[in-house]
Symmetry: C2
Subunit: 191 residues, 2 copies
């Protein structure tokens, strides 16, 4: 998605350690108008697919997922990082490793909100090692629901996650696939 690549080049900030910050429009401030363009693009890519629910993970996936969901006219469910004392009863659970926060945490989705007849599109901001995406796929499969695919805003294609998940037979559509980047600001995208 050319518009997104331009936006990343213009507003993204690259730090040592292969860290790309897109805090000005995705991860801290959210450019809601721009997210609508992202929603339209996912709708175009998944046109014709039956989708009953969008699944994402807190926190930064939620805003994107809600805007995107409007184009599919379905509810959003967000997996929670397990800590709340308000979550009671039956949940699906899996483990996710955060390389940013350098820890492993449990994510949960209440069984109330994922059913065997659900056709689920996963939406998330980043795909790098694929840990969050694999965790979400496990939740859906534990519910015996169908994984229609994943819609990712930015894929770090030089990391293992994209191949890992595609090799599982899951369709992954990433709107910007970064081949390489360097702290001086150069970013190469895969067409």
């Amino acid at each position: 998605m050319k518009l997104l690549e331009e936006k990343i080049r213009q507003d993204g900030k690259i730090f040592e350690g292969n860290i790309l910050k897109v805090d000005s429009f995705v991860n801290h401030q959210i450019d809601v108008k721009f997210m609508n363009e992202i929603g339209k693009e996912f709708k175009r890519l998944y046109e014709g697919e039956e989708i009953t629910k969008i699944l994402t993970i807190e926190a930064s996936g939620i805003g994107i997922a809600c805007i995107v969901a409007q184009y599919f006219d379905v509810p959003v469910v967000f997996a929670k990082k397990a800590k709340t004392v308000n979550i009671a009863g039956d949940v699906y659970t899996s483990q996710v490793e955060s390389f940013t926060h350098k820890r492993v945490y449990d994510i949960i989705v209440s069984k109330e909100f994922l059913h065997a007849d659900d056709k689920v599109l996963i939406i998330d901001d980043f795909l790098a090692q694929g840990s969050a995406l694999c965790g979400l796929i496990k939740l859906i499969r534990d519910a015996k629901a169908t994984v229609v695919g994943a819609g990712i805003v930015i894929e770090k294609a030089y990391q293992a996650g994209g191949k890992l998940v595609r090799d599982m037979g899951v369709r992954v559509e990433s709107l910007a696939r970064i081949q390489s980047m360097s702290p001086n600001g150069d970013i190469e995208f895969i067409d």
Copy 2:
């Protein structure tokens, strides 16, 4: 907002300890179509006010804020619970007490995303003790920006937060104000 009161009566679940769960449309699953009705209502209430930014707090405020922001045509900024190693540099910070999670945490907003000329509408799902709302107001005031008001989906009006914040001179619009509720399912709203 009658539609919201009906939805809370129909889909909300009340637990011991004055806990209201609206997980089926606000806090875990998000009914995006319904959130659009909430967005329209906040737009109606704040019609004529100049607003340049919507501020909320992760995680469950983000989805609502993004949908609402579409009616004001402004970006969303969400305050982060301080933990990430990706946040560097200058931030505004304040402390918030979570009664649900029984802990105090720091919230931060990058100075990049709040400026003295911003007119900020705060959006959040719940108002109870007012700790999150006071924390967000402090961030805005530290940035010398203007607090236009707060848009709250559900106010527990029998708790201290609403009065506390209104007494600070901040406009608070809550779409459903709960006067009392009991675990047998009875909920009374303030008109």
